[in-house]
Subunit: 346 residues, 4 copies
């Protein structure tokens, strides 16, 4: 079953508990000859996920410095498995009580399943595990064509939804505001909401939207390794995620077919392309923008424990690089798979 | 990559094109000693998915009779792979044009990917492929505890949403109406909408809701084989599905944490159980009802081709057994995996 | 675990019991655009494995006709799973006794494992299962470069070992004699031995040698998917195989290093190539001939049951195409994997 | 393909190059609740494989101290992935020349495959990688029934073959002599041969024999995950291994069937058990001793480089714990798989 491994041709295996000595990622199937620079390619993504990056997040302070243990030699990958370690430094297990199951967490289900659990702060179920995904995603990005763009942003927090979003976005655009909401007015509203949450021990969920641009057609393998179900699995494996949709899925489910499927079908460049496809048709990319929404429930730690400050009132802003990382892993996996589609004589 | 195989310990491999000679399913990892009766255990589920079952569906007529070729001997499974074949009988490929890409279908992406495609009606991308999933799911159900109940139903078609739904439902309850909507008033509204669609060459999508009851706690394997991401992958691999959520995911994403996570956490039977968990916590079942919603886009064939009658104006009612089947496959896989959680000395 | 599936990128799943209605093979991951002709590409290999092909084999008579059910359209593969069915016709289950465990067969271990078994002639443990491997191997050959040559032959039966073997061999060369021993004098000795076995109810094992020529360097993936361990696993999965070696492994294990590793190492085309490598170095092909030996125990059915004639006195000649097929599957899998070794920018 | 992962239900992923900072092992699928003590359960096996353990081995000196980074909490496994790190300390890369391909090593094939390689001493192809397998095997042993015994020993080095071997052996028995040959007279001969090799820059191969006792019947899954082909794959993935056989495979291939298959077949405890089975029948264990032989070619480094002393003249004695470890991994994997064979109602 290999439950701690994600991916087929390119695979990520993660290990480590939030309060153990270290978190680790092992990436297998990574082609040789790719230049890798930790400071340029990894650390910026880890820093975007890092706790304590703004006043809106947890006060747990971790440098989250990436150490490459294998797979890279003289600045290039060599075809062997890439292993990256991040030491845990600011773990404070005294905050946790072994005899108490936190509601909304995995505490009880984990204990019922395994009999024995690491009660120090979530163990594997902690959001800290996602830093290994960011490592994996950072490497995955290096495989994709340079022009490919994978950008996620905060579409909505609580009932505050971004409406004025530019047609194209870079990571820098998104990071301009700590909420990672690219609509400045809504970003300000969200800031006020989250500051209030911290004060009151309340929390919020929200919606992250992902845009993938300049990705070639043909990625995705029918029928159980479609681009859409691989992405859905990738995102739903993240702790707080409760839903995934292609574009605005609830709206699509209500639409009339004749309107939804409007568009030129007969000839030319767009022949057979569905305008409402969100970049994926029959499970395979069609070369247009891939757009998905990922729904997060409100953060689980509320009340007095939340007021201590070592928990995020809303995980959405820090989850943006995690969603991008999971998308990059799926895309790079299928980018490799693309090489296997057709016969090559020799 | 094995894109035509789903599942880990219990796996389903499907083959067959919609206009080829046959559709097939191979199930591996199925334990020995399970009594199987085609008429009792398989055919009823296939009949629920079968085209032509009511005036609301396509007029393509297929008996969809299951033939077991291996894995069952003297009425019981023997531990070897179970193979089941269904012959295609009413394929009419003359309806299709090799030089035409149907918008909203996989025609163009498939051709760009593989260069060469079976242009006779969708090939593997056809909804006909889902009958193999129903076969797999029928076997998967046999592994689960007898008291387990997996029931899906039409929650919404177009903008018509069921509101008056009983607290518990059987398959028979759901099948009482061809729309598979258990709210009789809404079912009548939907019938009118779909009849009108057939006349006008229009189509609709909708929402299927899945309830899994009486399933044990402890199913699901962190961190990439969680119950929720496995189910999301299972459902999103179905052609017309555009979104998946735990319960009403958009509503959850808007809720306030203190309200969403309300509930007794300290002690007793419910200690650590989240009332809003939808049966899955930390990716693992907690023994309560699992509830998911699956969003379908409107059926792709609209206009003059739709009026010929060999396409469904709305796939949702016939997709109900498919969603149940995919859920059964995931649940049975984890039901087996449960045996591996803890050490057994000998 | 998927115990009935072999291979990674190119995978073969087999089903069917020897006395059930049919044997089947499903091949996934096969690239699109490959021309396939059953009469030219499949049937000849099946005929080489077929029972009743000479007076030296079992008298069970099966046409073993291949029926393609999916994956091929208008004579070319389309990227979807290839399914091939062979109906069982001459099964005579009355020959078998449910209350009797045949020694040397899987009867007892299978029953202890699964509780319930198909007692009609071996079920999945029957050599008949290998016809599905031959189907898989026939397709695998189509992926490899045209100049590649995969030829196996009878090196030894009982104590009769071929000594005068030409430097190069084609399948036609090997098939010139029913024993598939390319040393004519030894072939005659073997014929006499096997005819005597049939008369006396005795049996023999032997050694098959495999030569793979004109295969590119670079096939094989360290450290657990090396060419040598993948081939070893492929061959040892065949019922009667009890050993596998690179070249003459027992002799290699006795050699002195300075003699064994003699050869030019410094410069030129052969730099770093080990003359004693048997074509595989560090688990990766080096472009030279791959040579392996596969050891078979004597056929298990001896005594009065053997005299009935529906069992082979020696499985080695009919196993030659099976060994070739398993080699082709491994080689084609790694031939595809080769495309993933290095970075391709776009 | 995940070439650095071995195993299905219980899987071992290894990383690290011989001259990189560390070697690592990640074990997934390990059940919760197993007591683990590094000093008792891991270090002894690592010490048996460690370089520099006797005058017969390389002088590279490594403490090979195991550090558990995750998966164990308060002395017991918790169901999450187990990660173990061993730092490399005595790597001396100045001994290696990037412009020189060592014959008999993976240098050239690796470079042809990947374009870019770690030329410092073999990288992943180094025997040092096997310490990760020993870590994996040490954990695997903890899953097996206490009475199970996995013992390998030096059967032969060069032409010196152990003849006087007791009927049963413990690890302590085998370790009594640095050659790990349990026939004292032959052990002395081997010592003389290997000392001479070190002086002359020569090397030897040999044969390791593996005995597995007190293992239950029913382990092994037909048809591609048989116990025999899984073991063959496990052993052949070790660098210097060139052959594998059930018992004495060449002798079995020469035997007459009526003699080879002699034994009571009809009734009683032994009904259907083949006396010559070597513990595996139809690919499934039959409860008797499993016996395999593993053939090693002579160590590749000969001549002047060998005289420097940082290479073993014969890898066989140090490979004994590696063979045991690979066997333990396969056995534990199937030990877990055994739980899935039959239907359990609830």
């Amino acid at each position: 079953m290999r439950p701690n491994t994600f991916g087929h041709l390119l695979s990520l295996t993660t290990f480590g508990e939030s309060h153990g000595p270290a978190m680790g990622a092992v990436i297998d199937g990574f082609p040789a000859g790719v230049s890798v620079d930790v400071a340029r390619d990894l650390q910026p993504h880890l820093d975007r996920r890092r706790p304590g990056q703004s006043s809106l997040t947890t006060s747990r302070s971790e440098g989250d410095e990436a150490n490459i243990l294998s797979g890279v030699f003289e600045g290039k990958t060599i075809g062997s498995p890439i292993a990256v370690l991040v030491w845990n430094k600011n773990a404070r297990s005294e905050d946790y009580d072994p005899n108490y199951y936190r509601a909304g967490h995995a505490d009880r289900t984990w204990e019922e399943k395994y009999g024995h659990r690491d009660y120090r702060g979530g163990g594997r179920a902690s959001g800290r595990e996602t830093l290994c995904r960011v490592i994996g995603g950072s490497f995955a990005r290096l495989l994709l064509p340079k022009e490919a763009s994978i950008v996620a942003f905060t579409r909505q927090i609580g009932e505050h939804e971004a409406r004025e979003v530019p047609d194209s976005l870079t990571i820098a655009d998104v990071d301009r505001h700590p909420t990672r909401c690219p609509d400045p007015a809504v970003a300000r509203e969200i800031t006020a909401v989250l500051k209030n949450c911290k004060k009151e021990g309340d929390s919020r969920g929200g919606v992250i939207e992902l845009w993938v641009d300049n990705i070639p057609a043909g990625l995705g393998n029918p029928v159980f390794a479609k681009m859409k179900n691989r992405l859905a699995s990738a995102f739903m494996s993240v702790g707080a995620v409760v839903g995934v949709g292609l574009g605005d899925a609830p709206a699509a489910s209500e639409a009339r077919g004749q309107k939804f499927h409007t568009g030129i079908a007969g000839s030319g460049d767009d022949a057979g392309i569905s305008p409402a496809s969100q970049g994926i048709q029959g499970g395979i990319t069609n070369g247009r923008r891939i757009c998905l929404r990922v729904y997060f429930k409100p953060a689980s730690t509320v009340g007095s424990m939340a007021k201590k400050g070592r928990h995020d009132p809303c995980i959405v802003p820090r989850a943006v690089p995690v969603i991008e990382a999971m998308a990059a892993l799926v895309l790079a996996d299928h980018w490799l798979a693309r090489r296997l589609d057709r016969h090559i004589e020799s």
